[in-house]
Every structure is written in C-alpha cells, then in structure tokens.
C-alpha cells in the first residue's frame, strides 16, 4: 500500500470541514487524508484525484459529476469483508477515520482497465445491441455467451457473505412531514414548529441547510450558515419537532405513509454494539411538504464525460462547503447566469478561470475572467482526466481551452420524484423549460421551493413558510423571514450542441445522444420505449441527470413538444436501499416468532428432538441414551404406548371456544354432520366442508354446557378455521347468537393413550370424578379438577386407536402436570411420544389428517360420505352432491400393504394396475400417507383408489417414477389396528 501525498493539493480555504482533525482513508489501496465534514468525493478531489470510476458498458474513465445523491459516476465499493457495499455514491459517503473504498467495474485497475476495449467496439455495442446478438449458434448461449455476459455485466460486486449488521424498522407519526431541510424546508419547519404541530423534518444529508451550504448568498446580511445554525437550534428546542438528518424519505406510499431510511451508523467505522446500522421508518404523515430542491441538468456534447467535467453547481458546492476544487484551472459552460456564479466563487478562492463559455449572445461580462458569448463546448481531451476543451465560438471558429475541470450548467430540474410515486405525472412549465409538480399528487402532499420551480432563495423561504401554513391550515401569516436574494430566474432549453453523437446523456448506463437517435430510427419513440430500449434512466441513479436530456432529444426527433412526449414514472426508492434495511430484524432465527408448547422446557430437558410445525416447535421423538437412529425411538414409542401408556403434547391443535344460545345451530351450519342434538358432556367428530363440498378440516367438538362448546382443529388449520368460523358468524349467520374466541394457547392439552391410560389418569384426576368406562364412556367430556383442585377438562377421544383421553389444564400448570404424569406413570412405564409416533399410530388406525384433507378430497373420498347430513343445511352440503364428485369410480380412501414386508411404501406414489402402461391415463389413485408400522412389522400406507372400497384384496403396483420405485401392494382396509374399535371403548 503506497502512501498518498500528505498535503491535499486541491484544498481551498473555508468550507464546513474541521481542519483541526485529520482523517486517514484508503481508496484503491492508496492512503489519503481528509477532514470531518468531507465526503469521500470531496476528500478525493482535495487530494487531486479526479478519476473515480469506469463506466458500465464502455469502461470509459469517469470522475465525479455532482456533489449529491444524484451522482452517476463516482460509485464505489465501500468497506471490505462482509460489510462491503457496492454502488455507494462517493458524494454522499461521509468521511471517517479508516474509511476503505475501492472503485468498481475495472480490471485490473482504474488507471488501466482491460475492458476499455469495449469503447473501441462501441459501434457494435450501441443501445439494444443484445436484442440483435447472442442468438447464433443456439448451443453457444449456455456455454459461451451467458458466462461471458455474467462476468461482464452488473455494477459492483457482492461480498457473498451474510450481512453482519443489524437493521431496525420503526414507525413515526406526525401532523407535517417536511422532506428536505434547505431554505424552503427550514422555514416551513419553523412556521409549523412554532404553531405546536407535530413536525418531522428530514434531510438525506448529514448537514441541514440544503443549497444554503453550497452557495455564498447572504441572509439578513450575514452568512447563510448563521441563519441555518440558529434555526436548527430553535427547532431542536421544540419538543414537538423531530429533526432527522442522514434520513432519505425514499417513497410516498399509500395512506399517507412514507418510507424513510435513517443512516444511523454509516458515518462511523462500525456501529456501536447493539445499535442498528440503519433504520427503515414508516412515517404516518397527515400532511407532507416536499422541499426536495432541484437537480442541475447538463448540456450534452461529444466526450462530455471525462473526469473533471462536472455540474457547475457541484463545483461551487465542493469549493464553498467542502473547501475542495477539482483543478486549479477551471472553465465553465453554461446557458444561464447560474454558471457564472461558479466562476465568481472559484475566482474568489484563487482558482484560475480559463473562460466562461456562454451559449447566449448577451451573456454578462466580467472584469475578472474571460466570458465567451454565443460559444459552445464541442469536444474534450484527456482520457484519464480533462486537459483541454474544444469550443466553437460565435463566429464559427474553433478554439481550445486548457483546463483541468469544466463546470456545465444547462439549468435546474425541480425534484418532482416523490410527487410521481403514485402514478402522478409532472407538468411542463415552458417558462422554466422544466417539469414541475402537477396532476394528482399523493393525497396530503404539497410542494414548496425549488422542487416546485421557485428557484430564488427568497422564494424558497417564503413558499416554505406558506406551504406549512396551507398544509396545516394555520391562522398565522408568514412570520419574519431573513432578507435573501430574489433574482428572477429564467431558464431556456439547451439540451445538446448540434452535431454531437458520442455525447453522454446517462453516464451510469452509458447512453448517448446517438443511442436516442438509434431508438427513434428503429421505431422506439414513446418515452417508455426510449427508456427500456436504451436503458436510459434505468440505473441506480434513476436517470436524475439524464431523463430530461433524453426525452428532449426524442421530442425534437419526433417533431413533438416535450409535454407531448411526457415522462416515465418515478418509483420508490428515491435512492438505493440496502436489502438488510428491508428485512430489519426479521431474519435468521427471528424470521418468524416461535411458539413453544407448555411442556417445551420439560421436553428439552428430556432430550426431545423438535420439528417446526408452522411457528410451533413440537417434540418429534424422545431419544433414549443408546438410540442412534430415529426409527429406534419412534418404533419404541409406538409399541410402548400400545402396550401400556404414552403421553403426547397436543396443545398445538386449535381450540375454539363457542358459546351462545345458538351455539349448537352454528356448529350444525359449519359441520356437515349433525351437532344440534349432541348431549352435554359428549364430544363428537366433526367434518367441515367448503362451500364447494371439498373438506377443509376435521376435528372434534365437545359440549361443555347447553350453550358452550369447545371445537378443535388440526394444528396447521387453527387460524384458517377460526377465520372461516368468524366469517360464517359475522357474514353468513349474523342473526345467530353465537360468540367465538380462540383458546388454543390458554390450555395445555396432553393425549394420554394406551391400555393403562385410565389407570394413570385416576392418579391425577381428583377422586370425586368417576372416569370409569361406565361413568365416562368413549367420547365423553367434562370439566373436572386434578391434583387437589386445579380446574381441568377431560375428553375421551382417541387419535391413536387405543383407549385414550386428552387432559387440559391452564397452560402455566402444563409443565407441572407433565412432570406429574411422568412420575405417577413410572409404574406403568409411561412413555412420552412425539409427532412421529403420533403419525404412525393414526396411520395404523386409518385416521385422516392433513395429507388426506388436501384441498381436493370430499367426505365421500374420505369414506365419510354418509356423514354429510341431509336432514339439515350446512356449508358444502349441496355442492357435495355434484355429479362430478360422485362418479362410480370416485376415489375412496384405502389402506395399502406391501406384498413383500421389506418393501417401501412412499407417500406421493401412484397406484397402477399390476400390468400395463404406467402413465396418467392409467392412473388408479395415489398414496397420501406412509409409515413403518412396528405393530405390523412392515411399512403401510393410506391412499385414494378409484372405487377403492370395492377393491379390497386386489394387488396393485405403487409407482414413483422420480425415485425409481415400483412396489407391489395389496389393497386393505385403512383400519390396520383394531378395526372393530374395541380398544377405544375399553
């Protein structure tokens, strides 16, 4: 690493930099020095560096063009390692000690870029060249063209490492959001703040003041900075005003919500521990005043893109605010008085002005430097940095000016972008030869200052104050504002010099005047086609310095007025936003909230292996020491439960409390089977259908009292079923007296299953509750107490097919209850079981679950056709009778067993006849669930088979072509274990 010059050769006196502190920074492996208050761009200029990048397509050497966020050329990779950020504008990157940056898009170096060969091939690389190339031969696309294009294309590179920074998202509310803290924004904030309104003033810059920081105007006969400092001090003292610097309001979204990115830590080497790098704010604003200023526009001429050719206003900014100049010898090319300001300001700082080249024949003259009236810049020289500018003078003669920088000024474009984010289009103002806000602005938004086309300082101050008064409907008139210049501004159009061709419009995407002419020639004449065919305006700068020039040239070629050609639509974000800011804290293990069951901490102690089920963590199995494969654990859990007793946490299944005088009628409506006559203290299995007769979900409903039911759902469908029930309640049956509320998380619920389940529960349930088979038969339910008086609920339902119960207590006691079941159950060798064993047992029993209720199956398919009651109307009843759903060969649920017990059965496999073709035309059905059954000693499956209930004993092929599986299976009853249901009724 070579050490750069210690002295900053292009530093000037003055500026808002802190010379008492020196900051060291590195650019392209060279070290330089700058000061607090510098940006990377200003510090590089001060160090004599003009070459900052290479252009996208032609790899032409480029320097900084502007001093703001509209910068197209000086885009760098900031920081190294995982925090590396591509396409960072050097003009907005605040300098800090140890800053590290590299230029982009060049190999091997900025000074010598091998890809510059593209510039010599420019005739083949004009706009839209890729629509006409890379097509032949077809085989070359994948192996040759695509890899080359991938290497060559793109702007900047990613670190390919995970972003290590934290980002927050936040919400703010205000009466008035003021976007931009230049003269208009500051005076609006003062007015609104003093009225007591809730105000947010946001600026993308790290210093408030806008263009007041860049110009040498006086306010009230004093430096403008004095008024800015005073104003900020007053605003800071008001509790109702919030100042947000380094905050880009990047989008106007619906409902008065604005997106804003606050760069909390980007000006520091690293964020402080626990602090975010950036915050993405949603600002809810009742009113918004856009005071975003204006962006200077260039004039196109051949080779107008060399390092050192900059916007005239930017040269002023670098000189006045940052105390830096691009060269000791500068020329200006302008079509208005504005460019002359650059010459005057730089001359005052001791810079040699080569000449002011003014297109107007009546341009003002100067005693300090030469002004060439009626002249135009037509070409430039100096590949790695400007050395000469060629001019055509008024009399037609050519002259060459020696200079290291050229300030170009073609006028100013109001920053209308945010006014267009909701498809508004700006309107053409012929007096200003510029687009100004117009049409339908986002509701609640108004505009003040230069963003509206009011370009004088006095105008900005006044319109800002008035804008606040109008937005908030204040009774006051505009308070005292400082005296400021009020020079009338006229702008005339001057987009390009005649005869130019390789004259750059969009410097970031390398689009020239020649490209616009080509687009016109090839028929791409509308502004939308112009944009997409040439890619003008499609780079990271969204064409801030190029859109106007491009469409003006197209208008001329098409023989139309500019307003007729119109503009394309500006879309958020105004400037690029890090993806990390969009994600905020929603990443990694915080991507979604995690729901833990009441027995979770106990299960963790027990060494359970967990599985994600939606947001839930459920125990999948409980390995014992010595078990090395999950099948060992799961097989053991199944056998132990069926042999004695097992316990499984089933809290996650939805529990919906249904109450009201019409609760039973309501259930009759949502379930296809009957519930009106369900007795108190009885549970019933229920099947819910969609309007079209397809099954949504199944569960149970327990009647705790005449007017009180508890409805259960599958885990995955809890939210969906609740939503469905609320829709029925509110919209389909609003006259029913029924109330719903979720109680899924309120109660810890455990399945206790197996021949010894009752014996175990009798040690838990308080003695006054008789849970013998006679007193508490299959499908009973009751409110009870346990362990000496704790309120609980008991349901005698079985998913496993064994004698089984589900016991529920308020969740805070769930942990203790589980531990009590384990200790009391020791004598029965009680075995905790997880979702895998749960799944095996329900498949062994032939119980339908989510795999079977897959959104295409009906009650008939599930073998529950007769459950759809015709004695009452329920959702789905009528359409379940459609002929298409009731054909003779309708799919029916069956069980499947492999002929060879060592064969696999896989879910997803299709069922084919033993012989014959294997294709869709011969498809007989498909397998929905499969598991190894330790009870039967082979794999088993559940599936749907055409006319399945009439094909018991038949042999079929189970085929899975993708996994190359073909197995012979026998069609059997889905109820593999205890088909008579003797165990559940024990």
């Amino acid at each position: 690493m070579t050490t750069g010059k210690m002295n900053q050769i292009n530093r000037l006196e003055g500026g808002q930099i802190d010379r008492s502190t020196r900051l060291k920074f590195t650019f392209d492996n060279r070290q330089y020095y700058g000061h607090p208050g510098d940006t990377l761009a200003s510090a590089l200029l001060a160090n004599g560096v003009r070459l900052m990048g290479r252009s996208f397509k032609y790899h032409r050497p480029r320097g900084v063009l502007t001093a703001g966020s509209e910068e197209p050329n000086a885009i760098v990779e900031l920081r190294g390692g995982a925090r590396q950020e591509p396409n960072t504008r050097a003009t907005t990157a605040e300098l800090y000690d140890g800053l590290y940056a590299k230029s982009q898009n060049r190999w091997p170096s900025l000074a010598f870029d091998a890809m510059a060969i593209n510039d010599r091939l420019s005739n083949f690389l004009t706009a839209g060249f890729y629509y006409k190339t890379f097509m032949w031969p077809a085989a070359f696309w994948e192996k040759v063209y695509e890899p080359i294009i991938r290497k060559a294309a793109g702007l900047g590179s990613l670190s390919m490492k995970e972003d290590p920074d934290d980002y927050d998202k936040g919400f703010k509310h205000c009466d008035l959001l003021i976007i931009g803290a230049g003269p208009a924004g500051l005076s609006a904030a003062l007015t609104a703040g003093r009225s007591g309104a809730e105000v947010i003033l946001a600026d993308e810059d790290f210093a408030f003041g806008g263009r007041l920081n860049a110009e040498t105007y006086l306010l009230d006969e004093a430096p403008a900075l004095d008024w800015v400092t005073q104003t900020i001090a007053e605003l800071s003292s008001l509790p109702n005003v919030r100042l947000m610097r380094r905050t880009t309001v990047m989008g106007a979204f619906d409902h008065g919500i604005y997106g804003a990115v606050e760069r909390v830590s980007d000006h520091l080497h690293n964020p402080d521990p626990g602090k975010p790098r950036q915050i993405l704010w949603r600002i809810y604003a009742k009113h918004t005043l856009l005071c975003a200023g204006a962006t200077e526009r260039p004039i196109a001429f051949d080779n107008n893109d060399r390092p050192g050719i900059m916007m005239a206003g930017a040269i002023r900014t670098f000189a006045n605010r940052f105390g830096a100049t691009p060269s000791q010898r500068i020329a200006v090319f302008t079509n208005s008085d504005d460019g002359h300001r650059t010459a005057a300001d730089l001359h005052a700082k001791g810079i040699k002005i080569a000449a002011v080249v003014d297109t107007r024949s009546d341009a003002p003259l100067s005693t300090d430097y030469e002004v060439l009236r009626g002249a135009q810049a037509i070409d430039s020289k100096g590949r790695l940095g400007l050395t000469y500018v060629d001019l055509r003078q008024a009399d037609g003669s050519i002259r060459t000016l020696e200079c290291g920088a050229l300030g170009v000024s073609g006028g100013w474009n109001p920053n209308v972008h945010l006014t267009c984010h909701q498809r508004g289009r700006p309107v053409w103002n012929a007096e200003l030869a510029a687009f100004v806000p117009g049409g339908a602005l986002p509701p609640g938004m108004s505009v003040a200052g230069a963003a509206r086309g009011i370009f004088s300082t006095h105008g900005a101050l006044t319109s800002g104050a008035q804008g606040a008064i109008d937005a908030l409907d204040l009774k006051s008139t505009v308070a005292h504002l400082p005296q400021a210049e009020d020079t009338p501004v006229t702008q005339k159009a001057f987009w390009y010099v005649q005869g130019c061709s390789r004259a750059w419009l969009d410097q970031q995407n390398d689009v020239t005047v020649k490209d616009v002419k080509l687009a016109h020639q090839e028929g791409f004449r509308s502004v939308e086609h112009l944009k997409r065919y040439t890619t003008l305006g499609m780079a990271t700068d969204q064409g801030k310095t190029s859109n106007m020039g491009g469409l003006a040239i197209m208008a001329e070629l098409a023989g139309k007025g500019i307003p007729e050609v119109g503009t394309t639509i500006f879309r958020p974000p105004y400037t690029p936003v890090a993806i990390g800011a969009m994600a905020g804290r929603i990443r990694g293990k915080d991507f979604h909230p995690t729901r833990l069951t009441p027995s979770h901490f106990w299960a963790k102690e027990r060494g359970a292996v967990f599985v994600e089920v939606g947001n839930w963590l459920r125990a999948q199995w409980f390995p014992l020491p010595g078990e090395t494969h999950w099948r060992q654990s799961v097989d053991r859990e199944v056998l132990a439960t069926r042999a004695s007793v097992g316990v499984c946490d089933c809290t996650t299944l939805g529990k919906i409390d249904v109450q009201g005088a019409d609760a039973a009628d309501f259930l009759n409506k949502i379930y296809c089977n009957g519930f009106a006559k369900l007795a108190v203290n009885k549970t019933r299995y229920g099947l819910m259908l969609r309007e079209d007769g397809i099954a949504i979900d199944d569960g149970t409903a327990g009647r705790m009292a005449e007017d009180h039911f508890v409805v259960t759902t599958t885990t995955a469908n809890a939210g969906k079923v609740y939503q469905h029930m609320e829709f029925v309640r509110q919209c389909l049956c609003p006259d029913m007296d029924v109330q719903l509320i979720s109680t899924t998380e309120a109660w810890a619920q455990y399945a206790v299953a197996g021949p010894n389940s009752r014996k175990l529960l009798q040690k838990i349930v308080d003695a006054e509750f008789d849970i013998s088979n006679e007193a508490f038969p299959f499908m009973a339910c009751a409110n009870i107490t346990v362990c000496g008086g704790l309120r609980a609920r008991l349901f005698r339902i079985s998913f496993s097919g064994e004698l089984a119960f589900e016991i529920a207590v308020p969740s805070r006691y769930g942990d203790a209850l589980m531990r009590r079941l384990m200790s009391e159950g020791e004598e029965f060798n009680v075995t905790p079981y997880g979702t895998e064993a749960l799944g095996v047992m329900r498949i062994e029993k032939g119980h339908a679950a989510g795999n079977e209720l897959n959104g295409t199956t009906t009650a008939l398919n599930l073998g529950m056709g007769r459950m759809v009651s015709k004695a009452k109307d329920s959702i789905g009843s009528v359409l379940s009778e459609r002929t298409g759903l009731n054909t003779a060969d309708a799919l029916m649920q069956v069980g499947l067993k492999p002929l060879d017990t060592s064969d696999k059965v896989t879910a997803g496999g299709h069922l084919m006849a033993v012989d014959g073709p294997v294709d869709a035309a011969h498809d007989q059905g498909y397998v929905t669930s499969a598991a190894y059954s330790p009870t039967l000693g082979s794999m088993i499956g559940l599936g749907f088979l055409k006319d399945g209930s009439n094909r018991m004993g038949e042999t079929l092929r189970l085929v899975s072509p993708l996994t190359k599986l073909t197995v012979e299976v026998e069609v059997v009853s889905a109820h593999f274990v205890d088909p008579e249901g003797i165990r559940v009724r024990a």
Partner: protein, 188 residues
C-alpha cells in the same frame, strides 16, 4: 389446594426482569384474564353489569378502564377483556360468569397471554421500533391492538402515566420478549 406449581410464560419459576439504561421490562405473570362478549339481545344488560363491575361505563374502542382490581379494555364490537390480580382472582372467569349470567359469554383467557410491563424513561423511542401505534399521542387509559414482530398484541397505557402494559400470545412470549429487549438495546 392443588399442588401443581406454575411456570411463567418465559419458562421460569420467577418472572424475568431486564433493565436497559433507565427502562425496566418486567414479565408479569400475576394477571388473570377473561373475555366478555355480550350475547344477542343482552347488550344493554351486559353493559350494565360492566358498569357495576368497573364503576363506570364499559370502555369505548381504543380505551381501557383502569379500575382496581378489575381493569377492562375494549377488544371488539361488544367485546372486552377483563384483567385482575391473579393471586386474588384466579377464578375470574367463573366469578364473572356468575355475575353476568346469560348476558355474556365469558371465557378464561389468563394463560392465552403473556404480560410484559415497561416502566421508566424511554418507552416512546422503544415502542417506535416495535409497532405502528402513535405512542407519543397515547394517553393514560388508551388501549390499542397492534402487531409486534408478527404477533397480535394489546398495548395499554397504565397509571401512573408512562407505564406501558403489553399483552402478547403466551406461546410466543420468548419471541416477544426478545423483540422488546432488542428494541430497548437499540433505542436507548
């Protein structure tokens, strides 16, 4: 008296307390909750019972009635949540059912929710990082439904003014606690 020991939503035997700068986040397991929904044709009677219980009208949308020991906040059309100290009101749902009779459907909600209390300086900047409530405008007695880290929560501005109560789904207590603590570390 039963002999099962409860655990808190975060899984401890004692509530978790965290302090960042001058703000304290306390897990609060000592709340009993019950939902009260007026039954059809009984809305007037239901409101009358609420009035008798709270000593004032049932709270309007966006509001809470910070009565002692019962606190009520609005949760939906003709629907409210009642909160009371767990120690003395563990049977809150049963008590309310006895009082309201057929006028309302009452459901125990105690362990459907986890409660976190914020007390001290810096509540507003922390809440700005968590949810869309206009926290600067939230007064004592305001109650809002909102979303914090994908979780549907209730937020109540308690008395003394400034204290904030956050109720979130109990099973996600860990995620909610983590989100609040992260916001505290970030903002303060």
């Amino acid at each position: 008296m039963h002999n099962l020991s409860p655990i808190t939503a975060l899984g401890g035997t004692a509530p978790r307390i965290d302090t960042v700068a001058k703000l304290t986040l306390s897990e609060n397991p000592d709340i009993a909750l019950a939902s009260v929904t007026a039954r059809a044709d009984h809305t007037t009677a239901c409101r009358a019972h609420l009035n008798a219980l709270l000593g004032s009208d049932a709270p309007a949308p966006g509001k809470a009635c910070l009565h002692d020991p019962e606190l009520a906040f609005w949760t939906g059309p003709d629907q409210w949540m009642i909160a009371a100290p767990f120690e003395t009101h563990e049977d809150l749902a049963a008590r309310l059912k006895a009082q309201f009779g057929v006028a309302a459907s009452i459901t125990e909600q105690t362990d459907a929710w986890a409660c976190f209390d914020l007390r001290g300086d810096g509540i507003d900047p922390v809440m700005e990082l968590l949810c869309a409530i206009n926290i600067r405008a939230m007064q004592t007695g305001d109650a809002a439904r909102t979303v914090i880290h994908h979780l549907g929560c209730f937020v109540i501005r308690m008395a003394p003014a400034g204290d904030l109560r956050i109720l979130g789904p109990r099973a996600s207590a860990g995620s909610l606690h983590h989100a609040i603590l992260t916001a505290m570390t970030s903002a303060l």
